[in-house]
Symmetry: C2
Subunit: 366 residues, 2 copies
């Protein structure tokens, strides 16, 4: 166990790093932020930060030498970066988790080999394979780059077999995955943590509403049966256990309705880090996803994932943030702003959470 007073290295200076650093401080740790951007949000809440490239081997080594454990706020940490860091300090969650989550094919193969249901998929190394896979999986289907996709970037929809080549061009002819289109009833996610002792703790599944491929709102709990919620938590715990994972993971799932042979769940994606759809835990749980992650990577026992309130979390994207004064005037709104100066389009600027007594979350979202 890393004792209070220990120092945590956080790779990445965005809002997730910022909220991790705050949670770490609440447990008596100090943080050292490493990121290439000047004045990154996380650096505002840490006494120490290093501004250097992720390829700067010397700076990485010095950073890792200065801390007791390294974690990260984004899954696209270059493999070489992780390798250098791991020579100097424990990196948690580890390189296996990164390698798995960075590549959609590796991720889906991992899930399939552990009997976790997903949409049908195919590895697309080239054009010929794509044409054949579209014929097999059918349309509509989605072509996604294997690596570096997020918030709908690096994706193209294939509505008829004739669209296949155009879609491949649209994603830059990069190594890809073809996924069968899923007619889902709703999208949910489970924030799950696993400690160094192997214990897991899964928060209640939340329901996620996207706008322009970016998370807009999360409703806690999701409007699904208790049995399906149990199943979702079990799947998430299964994944972190099979990966021998340490830390918090976000597991995105589709809920298929009776028309699609459901109710049943398909896993869409895993994120080896704290997750936007878990921000509600800051306000609706005694132990947030951020604290849970810090506990896990420091070898502490996990806290309870119980919620004391129902909640709706809403993201503030780009110019939404200019609405801060109105939101500040709503006395029951817990507002969280990330300290970003410029409200660029599509940029996550903050979020707000409204709490409701257990069982009294609104039945509909905006």
């Amino acid at each position: 166990m890393i004792e209070p007073g220990g120092r945590i290295g956080i790779l990445g200076g965005g809002q997730l790093g910022r909220m991790l650093a705050i949670a770490a401080a609440e447990l008596g740790f100090t943080c050292h932020i490493y990121c290439p951007e000047e004045n990154a949000p996380a650096t505002d809440v840490a006494a120490t930060s290093t501004c250097a490239a992720y390829e700067d081997a010397d700076a990485l080594a010095r950073f890792a030498d200065s801390v007791d454990v390294v974690t990260y706020e984004f899954e696209n940490v270059p493999a070489e970066t992780a390798r250098i860091l791991a020579e100097h300090a424990p990196v948690r969650p580890g390189v296996v988790a990164l390698a798995t989550a960075q590549d959609r094919i590796v991720e889906k193969n991992f899930l399939a080999s552990h009997d976790i249901p997903t949409a049908p998929f195919a590895d697309i190394p080239d054009e010929a394979t794509l044409v054949e896979a579209v014929a097999r999986i059918g349309t509509p289907s989605i072509l996604k780059t294997r690596r570096f996709g997020y918030d709908g970037k690096g994706q193209a929809r294939i509505d008829t077999p004739a669209d296949a080549i155009a879609a491949y061009e649209a994603i830059g002819r990069a190594p890809a995955i073809l996924e069968g289109f899923v007619h889902f009833e709703r999208e949910i996610s489970v924030i799950v943590a696993r400690g160094r002792n192997g214990a897991t703790a899964a928060y209640d599944p939340v329901e996620n509403i996207h706008k322009h491929h970016i998370l807009d709102q999360s409703l806690a709990p999701a409007r699904i049966s208790e049995a399906l919620a149990d199943k979702a938590r079990a799947i998430a715990s299964h994944i972190v256990t099979d990966l021998d994972y340490v830390g918090v993971m976000g597991v995105e799932m589709f809920v298929l309705g009776t028309d699609e042979g459901g109710p049943r769940l398909l896993v869409n994606e895993i994120a080896p880090r704290v997750h936007n759809s878990g921000h509600w835990t800051q306000d609706a749980c005694a132990i947030s996803q951020f604290e849970q992650h810090i506990r896990a990577i420091c070898g502490w026992p996990l806290g309870s994932a119980t919620r004391h309130s129902d909640a709706v979390m809403t993201n503030l994207i780009g110019e939404d943030a200019h609405d801060w004064a109105r939101l500040a005037g709503q006395s029951d709104t817990a507002l969280h702003l990330y300290g970003k100066a410029e409200a660029r389009k599509g940029r996550k600027m903050g979020h707000f959470t409204r709490l409701y007594p257990l069982g009294h979350a609104p039945k509909t979202l905006r």
Copy 2:
């Protein structure tokens, strides 16, 4: 209104400054900490800090010039320090609040002149006055220094008139106040906030248990009638309004039982800052006392002071902090550690809060 991205100056680097800085970050502000100690707890969570004496006029001026508003985490800010700061930036809560709370006689006179009930008291400038006052107020009574007392320091009990001179010696023959001893049923406090627009918001009164004159536990809500709780909130709101106060204040009160002509309330002390007995609001309210203070001093509307859960907050004093690992293993315990290296006797090292559904707080404390 100070907009997100603005900078808040915090005088004092202890745990209250630390928790204020964290709350400020959550609203998108940055903080600049000013304190004379190296490696003070608050400096861990702020990107900027100045380590200089409270008497260093140049450093104070530079500090105040660098921020949009100055606040403080302790009431014993020297008057000259406050005056220098106020020439360079707004200081909130202001110099009147400081002057009132720094001197027990000024404070009690203020309360008395605004019809707020207190224990009987007398100004003790010298020995002769003390002897006369003891005869008038009776024994037991408590002799306290007018200034710089906290956690029971600077106090001596007078059980019989013959003790008076020894008590005066014990407090160093400093200018003092004599207060009649109050046979109270319980001690409560109200955390109240007042915004720049004059609106007030009072949290539910909590019941405080002291050990060795230091706060040990706060139970939210206090075990008093709803009518008395309303009265306590009204008194607290009355005080901040009459002081034209901006920010959060802790108001300590005694509850007198039927034997003492009650149930009724006497105000014991006011603290012109966030208060240890309000730490439970971090975990049991959507808007904590720390965020409320930041909102107030930045000219924002106040948030709701409603609690979503009942709570028991317990301080970790000195070696109590060595118990962190056991507490970390209690999954329902929200642990807060202040990042202090050395667990000196009587030093506030952290606290923990346990939440209960509304109406289900334990009936007895430890």
